[in-house]
Every structure is written in structure tokens, then in C-alpha cells.
Amino acid sequence: MTITSTHVDVRDLVVRYRRRTALNGLDLRLGAGVHGLLGPNGAGKTTLMRVLATVVRPASGGVTVLDGDVTGDARLRQVRRRLGYLPQQFGYYPRFTVREFVEYFAWLKEVPRDRIPAAVDRAIERAGLLDRADERLKRLSGGMLRRAGIAQAIVNDPDVLLLDEPTAGLDPEQRVDFRELLRVLGVDACVLVSTHLVEDVAAACADVTLLHEGRAVFRGTPAELAARGAGGDGDSPIERGYTAVLRAARSA
């Protein structure tokens, strides 16, 4: 592992889909730790994830991941070796077993060959799926598939881990286990978790970024978000904070 002070540095990022502007001048700096990404549907969470995962190239703006500029091509391959990405909806080869699926991504991520077998089993174990490791993916439930996806994301011990709605489909107990895993991973990696489940953020994240219409309208700790709660609706302080900040952003 290389020492990196800023894992993710986004400056004035703009991404457009045909007519709609998905990200509109976003600035964001992230270091090690677990960061929550909140926002209503269409706020640009998934778009930001895809840009950071180097899947799509932004229209304009600077994006530096692990000290490599990912809008160009020179450092792209080195950066990608140290990335982990779990998309919101990820496809899979139904006939692969969990092990083959994770092994496949270990190869694609160019994990050194002598480390692949151990890395694959370790990733599956950390995702809590070791007892189903030789099951075919098409026979797994939604929550187990999600965990297989988490296993492939962490198989290369990434320094930047991007998880888009990772708790969708997990039952409450699995979500608690997952938050525990997040805390362990966040010790020396930068983990960015996008979610619309506010309580996940409150439980697992050191800080929260709230997106609204392609911009960051809030950045702070979950407690600070909860403190903004006056005038918001919701069942918990942080939910009230979330709705209050969004309401302020809409009326601004």
C-alpha cells in the first residue's frame, strides 16, 4: 500500500447525459475512512460513482483518484488496480460459482498470480459467504448476490472502494455485519458508500456528503447533519436533518 493523503479529489465536475446534467460543478475531497453519499433519486450519486470508478469520462472538471488523473489515460491502469467497485445493479455470469466470480475479478484486477487463491478465499470470507462459496450465482438469493458483489469489490484490497447501494437486499442482521466490515475496511482505505438509507450512514460513516441536483449541498459528520434537523420531517434526528437540508437547497 502506498501512502496517499487525499484518495479522491474532485474539482468542478460536470457530467451530462444527452440533455440532462447529472453532475453540475461538484467539488469533493475524500481521505481514508468511511464516507456516506446521500441524496434523493437523480441527485447524481450513481453518476459520481461511475466517474470515480473510471467507467465513464466526465464532460469537464478534474478527477484525481489515488494521485492519478482518471480523465486521461496515462495512469488509468495503475489507478484501476487499486479500485474496488460495486455498482447498484451488477450483472453476473449465472453459471459461475461465487469462487469463480471472485476469482475472475481477481484476474481482471491484475492481482499478482501467487496471491490469487488466498485473496479470493479471504474476500469471500470477509463478505460472509464462505459457506456458499461453491454455489452457482443463479441459485443465490438477492442478499447473497450482493455479498458476492462485495467480495469481488474487495478481492484486490482496494485503496478506494466504491459501493453503490450496497445494503439493498440485505436483511437487518446482514446489514449490521456489513457495517462492521465497512468500519474495518475504512481504517486505511477510502470507502465511499452511496445509499438512500439514512440510518446506514448514521451507523457506519465518519462523514456524510449530501448531493442535490448534481451539487454537494452538505458535508459534515452524521451528528452535524442531525443538528440541522429543525424544521425537517422524519423519524430520527438524522432523517430530519436530511429533509431539512434538502428543503433548504430546493428553496435556495
Binding site: T46, T54, V55, E103, L108
Partner: protein, 263 residues
């Protein structure tokens, strides 16, 4: 030992409710006192003891030894064109072409010649970044993503469709005049695809090939000039130029073209 931990404190300790100071003194006492150790021994102690024991791990799995061969197999055998469905589709198309050729021989139009070079073109069109490659989104974020994986998968496509078409040709008794066009059109698809995306490129190449083959055969000749023996002088430079274009444009495969799904 004359002093023992009061039962209430002991219960608080074993439930994890005791304060730090209490817990320390209880633990210090438990080390010395067997009677209190037994008193603590509730279900939670069993849990602690079993947690301290080495976990009964499931048997070590079957992750293959990570040799070069295994890597090549995984990289080639994962694309959409390595699926049974693709193979079945290729065989059906070839069988239909052969059937048409043998049934309407008098027309002098070679369906197999039309279809055989387009099989790898269709395979390449779906090989990378298409909707048929289910985990394409994750694949595109890996260092192997982009042209490297596309070329591995193109290799797989050719390895399946060319022998299949050769067998069909042997069965139909027609010469494999389409072999060079197959390689050439595949290369052209990749080259055009580096600019327009692989899907549109495959459609354009397919239409162009159909025009080149079907056009002349409407008249007198059974096969067009592009299939004549001396067409080698066309195909080899064309293939090389296409390959050079692909190498020069390789950065264009680095990101997914379509910012398809919104969210």
C-alpha cells in the same frame, strides 16, 4: 477465599452491563476463584469460550491454481460469445446457410459466403461494453478492461466461429473463400468501433459486406470481386490498416462509450 462477587454484580458482568472498574475487579477475582468462575458460567460464557476456539471453517475451496493458462481461460471464456447460447446461434445460422446453398444451388448465390465472415463480426459487436455482457459495468472499472479484454474476447469469438464455419463449408462442399474476409471484417469492425462504438460499426460492416457479396451475384457472377483469389491484395492491406487504427485508437476503448444508465 472468604469474599465472593455478589450475584447481582456477577450477572451484570456476564451480561456486559458492568462498568469498567467493576469488570476489572470481577475479572481479577475470577482468575483466582473457581467458585465464582462456575457461577458466571451461563450461556454467555459458553458463547465466549466457543468464540475463543478456532472456528470450524468450511473446507478449503477449489480456487484453481493461478497459472498463466487459467488466466487465459478466464479472460477468453467469460465473454458473451463464449456462452452456449452463442454457439447454438452460430450453428443454427450456419446450418440455415448451408441448407439454403444446397437447396437453391441454381441461383448461384452463396449464403455461407455471406454469413460466415459476419459471424465473428456479430460476436465482436457484443463482446465488450454491450448490454449482453452482464457485469460489463464492473469489468470496465478493472485494469484489464478496455482494448486488452476486447482483444482476448475477439480471440475467443474467432476460435469458435471460424472452425464452425469451416466445418459447415466442408459439409456443404464449398471452398472457404470467406476466410480472409472473416479476419478482415473483424479487424475493420474493431477499427470503426474505436470511433463509433462496436454496435454501429458491426451494422455498417455487415451491410457493406452484404452489398459487396449480393451486388455482383445479382448479375452473372456467383461471387463478387472481393472473393476472387487475387483479392488477397485487397484484404491483407485492409486488415493491417485496420489493426493499426485499433492500436492508435486504443485509448478510445478505455471508458464505456454510452453513459447509458442514469441514476
Amino acid at each position: 477465599m472468604s469474599w465472593h462477587v455478589p450475584e447481582a454484580t456477577l450477572r451484570a458482568y456476564s451480561d456486559g452491563r458492568a462498568g469498567d472498574a467493576d469488570a476489572w475487579s470481577v475479572e481479577a477475582h475470577l482468575v483466582e476463584c473457581e467458585r465464582c468462575r462456575h457461577a458466571v458460567g451461563g450461556p454467555s460464557t459458553d458463547a465466549i469460550v466457543s468464540a475463543a476456539r478456532p472456528a470450524a471453517l468450511p473446507p478449503q475451496g477449489r480456487v484453481r491454481r493461478a497459472g498463466r493458462w487459467r488466466g487465459a481461460v478466464l479472460l477468453t471464456a467469460s465473454g458473451p460469445a463464449a456462452r452456449t447460447a452463442w454457439l447454438v446461434a452460430a450453428v443454427v445460422v450456419l446450418a440455415l446457410a448451408v441448407a439454403m446453398d444446397t437447396t437453391w444451388e441454381s441461383r448461384g448465390f452463396a449464403w455461407l459466403t455471406l454469413v460466415a465472415p459476419l459471424l465473428p463480426v456479430a460476436g465482436v459487436a457484443t463482446a465488450y461494453g454491450s448490454g449482453l455482457d452482464e457485469p460489463g459495468e464492473i469489468v470496465a472499472s478493472t485494469p484489464a478492461g478496455g482494448l486488452r479484454l476486447l482483444l482476448w474476447r475477439t480471440l475467443a469469438v474467432l476460435a469458435v466461429s471460424v472452425p464452425a464455419a469451416l466445418l459447415a463449408g466442408v459439409w456443404a462442399g464449398s471452398p472457404a473463400v470467406w476466410l480472409l474476409p472473416a479476419l478482415g471484417l473483424t479487424a475493420v469492425t474493431l477499427a470503426v468501433g474505436s470511433v463509433t462504438g462496436l454496435g454501429p460499426a458491426a451494422v455498417a460492416v455487415g451491410l457493406g459486406w452484404a452489398a459487396a457479396v449480393a451486388g455482383p451475384s445479382v448479375g452473372e457472377h456467383a461471387s463478387g470481386p472481393l472473393l476472387a483469389p487475387d483479392a488477397v491484395t485487397v484484404w491483407i492491406p485492409l486488415t493491417l490498416a485496420a489493426a493499426a487504427t485499433v492500436v492508435l485508437n486504443q485509448h478510445r476503448f478505455a471508458h464505456l462509450r454510452r453513459p447509458s444508465r442514469e441514476a
